[in-house]
């Protein structure tokens, strides 16, 4: 009369906190070229991150969400996706975006309060950064539906924070992905915090991955600071998606090493001790250790890399700072494909004012 229905999620880890393999590594680890590229990319992203925070502090950039602690996940996402796949990001996916083809300058423009920061010359089909939490999950299933409708062999990777998993959009979307068997990989970046709200307040469940069960999807937990386990999980999930086997949910467990954004002061609500411990698990350092230990990286290379990254970032910053703002009329020019007659007057007024204020003849 009583029957049990059983379910599970699995969790995986390959490297310990110091970069030492805990056992056999997955096949991806054999690709040294890729692993080195990943490490280089993480250092670039970290360099970009600290520079952008500095720009914000000196009034040259707007509120900015640091990617510190999330580099490994974004790098694995960016590397694993096919070019024709579509990324549906949240706002802390810098590492993935850059690998997809977004330029550092575009990234700066976006956080510098300029819409051109999402017009992306490359990766034209990737969705722009979604600020309203979790809303992008619905777009992800929409994009994946389009692939299915057209019979295309493409997949979607959708990123969302741990906080985002409490919001209907995420939960409704994984449900649709399950019901419609859609080619989507949901990557939950569980960095333990949603601004000041700890993971324990978001949800009473032991793991976030187990939310997949209610949608009939496989759920996997990976150490988000272990490049190999993240990569393996995403590649596996992408393979399933491409193979018509449907969606997955991956919970990548990490820690937000910075403030929520430059507008936040995390010391108000979290323990210095906790932060210190989290640094010990840092995934960038961990991968460096691994490469070092396996004889593929040394101090000179590191020094060179740091210098290269600084230069790349500096160049991008200069380009960014040199950009004139758009004319104010731009605020009407992309509202619709063609400006409706009802708005002609307003656009004219805007142009006139801009001309008057900037004291120029042309402008708009």
């Amino acid at each position: 009369m009583k029957e049990l229905h059983e379910f599970h999620v699995d969790s995986t880890r390959y490297l310990d906190d110091h970069g030492k393999p805990l056992g056999d590594l997955p096949t991806q680890a054999r690709d040294l070229h890729r692993t080195l590229a990943a490490y280089r990319h993480m250092v670039l992203i970290r360099t970009f991150d600290s520079k952008t925070i500095a720009l914000q502090r000196t009034g040259k950039c707007g509120t900015y969400p640091s990617v510190l602690g999330h580099e490994v996940i974004g790098t694995a996402v960016g590397q694993s996706m096919a070019k024709t796949d579509v990324l549906v990001p949240y706002y802390r996916d810098q590492a993935a975006h850059i690998l997809r083809g977004v330029s550092l300058k575009e990234m700066l423009l976006y956080w510098g309060g300029d819409e051109r920061g999402s017009s992306w010359e490359n990766c034209r089909e990737d969705l722009p950064i979604a600020v309203p939490i979790a809303t992008q999950c619905c777009h992800a299933v929409g994009v994946a539906s389009a692939f299915r409708i057209r019979g295309e062999d493409r997949a979607v990777v959708c990123c969302v924070g741990d906080g985002g998993t409490s919001k209907g959009d995420f939960l409704e979307s994984i449900n649709l992905a399950g019901a419609w068997h859609l080619p989507v990989v949901f990557v939950v970046i569980n960095n333990q915090w949603a601004i000041s709200t700890p993971r324990s307040i978001q949800c009473g469940a032991e793991t976030i991955a187990q939310k997949a069960i209610g949608a009939g999807l496989p759920g996997h937990i990976v150490d988000g600071n272990d490049y190999f386990s993240v990569t393996e999980a995403i590649e596996y999930a992408l393979e399933r998606a491409h193979g018509g086997k449907g969606a997955s949910v991956i919970e990548a467990v990490t820690y937000r090493l910075g403030d929520h954004t430059t507008a936040d002061d995390a010391t108000r609500y979290r323990d210095a001790e906790e932060l210190k411990k989290a640094w010990e698990k840092d995934g960038v350092k961990r991968l460096q250790n691994y490469l070092h230990d396996s004889g593929h990286w040394d101090a000179d290379q590191e020094k060179q890399l740091q210098a290269d990254c600084r230069e790349t970032v500096e160049t991008a910053v200069e380009e960014y700072l040199a950009m004139e703002p758009e004319p104010p009329t731009a605020m009407m020019d992309y509202l619709f494909e063609t400006l409706p007659a009802a708005l002609h007057d307003q656009r004219d007024r805007l142009a006139d004012k801009h001309r008057a204020r900037s004291g120029q003849g042309g402008g708009a």
Partner: protein
């Protein structure tokens, strides 16, 4: 009939004139466009196998298959957002909200994404989608099934809000809405879904958006309305004609962006305007129209602009819904009032 046979028959029939109701015209427009543009897909609750609770999508699944005609799980936010994702991929989704009273859960997706994708990406991505919803009261329905909150969408930049008030306009405007490269909220006045039939040529010809439709020309007063209220407005115009009062009747049709020019030209001629809508008065679309006319036609106006509207309260359940709705006599009275000045 198999799909390709159906296709042939259909081509023959193209341009055939049919005597249809408003809801049938909606169905006809959907079928035409799905037939002629493979990017068009429809989704919503109960729209596929059941053909929609009002039968607006009947027959589409049989004709175009479940890949293009999709019953969704029950989640309006999801429907709104999924359509956005599809649209960024170049599909032209037409998503149905079963009733306007259930559209609010989709508000965040509509306001923060559908309306903004083009602007946000500087044209890289855009949302050529249509959100359909039956709206308005007077059909003896339960709570939340009689909403007229078009003003909430009209205020959102980046959206078009289109409302047909006859079978011909339903057909032509829906085709235009689907072909439009930007998001359109398409609200269907369910009280007149089956009120009358009209001859509609099923020839794929769209009607222009962003323009008012002048249904009747006249000199003494301009009557401005949209949706189901057009019915009472035209009836009032008839009654007033009997009294020797000549009214110009304008169907706004696209309530945002607003074709102020047609309205102003008319008021320049008549000097008087009465606005009729079912939605509650406070902050309704009538307010924008009145404010715009009062500002731009200040010197033309011979009387204050009067609004005949629903009350500023929650639509009552059906035993009292008639007391809420504007009636022919209310419009007649308002016109008499402004004419007297």
């Amino acid at each position: 009939m198999n799909a390709s046979a159906q296709k042939a028959v259909d081509k023959q029939k193209a341009g055939e004139v049919k005597e249809v109701t408003l809801v049938e015209a909606v169905n006809m427009a959907l079928a035409w466009e799905m037939e002629h543009d493979e990017h068009v897909v429809v989704l919503g609750e109960d729209i596929a196998t059941n053909g929609g609770v009002f039968r607006a999508t009947v027959g589409l699944k049989e004709r175009f298959g479940f890949k293009r005609v999709m019953d969704t799980p029950l989640a309006e936010n999801l429907i709104a957002g999924t359509a956005i994702g599809m649209a960024t991929q170049g599909l032209r989704p037409v998503a149905e909200f079963q009733f306007m009273g259930f559209i609010y859960a989709g508000m965040e997706q509509i306001v923060s994404h559908a309306a903004r994708m083009r602007n946000r990406t500087r044209g890289r991505l855009h949302c050529p989608l249509v959100y359909r919803a039956p709206f308005g009261g007077g059909i003896h329905a339960p709570e939340h099934h009689s909403e007229s909150t078009e003003a909430l969408f009209a205020h959102v930049p980046g959206l078009r809000v289109v409302i047909p008030s006859s079978p011909q306009r339903a057909y032509g405007l829906l085709l235009a809405a689907i072909r439009n490269p930007d998001p359109v909220v398409f609200l269907e006045p369910k009280r007149i879904y089956r009120a009358v039939t009209q001859s509609v040529a099923d020839n794929g010809e769209a009607l222009p958006l962003d323009t008012c439709y002048t249904l009747r020309e006249g000199d003494d007063v301009t009557l401005i309305s949209w949706g189901a209220s057009i019915l009472e407005t035209l009836q009032a115009a008839d009654k007033l004609a009997e009294q020797g009062i000549s009214t110009e009747v304008i169907d706004v049709a696209t309530i945002s962006p607003l074709d102020r020019e047609t309205l102003l030209c008319s008021v320049a001629k008549t000097g008087r305007a009465v606005i009729v809508h079912e939605a509650c008065r406070n902050g309704g679309v009538g307010a924008e129209i009145a404010a715009s006319i009062a500002e731009a036609a200040f010197l033309d106006l011979q009387a204050p602009i009067v609004r005949v509207t629903g009350y500023d309260t929650i639509m009552p359940y059906y035993r009292n819904e008639q007391a809420y709705l504007p009636h022919v006599e209310d419009i007649v009275e308002a016109v008499e009032q402004v004419i007297a000045l």
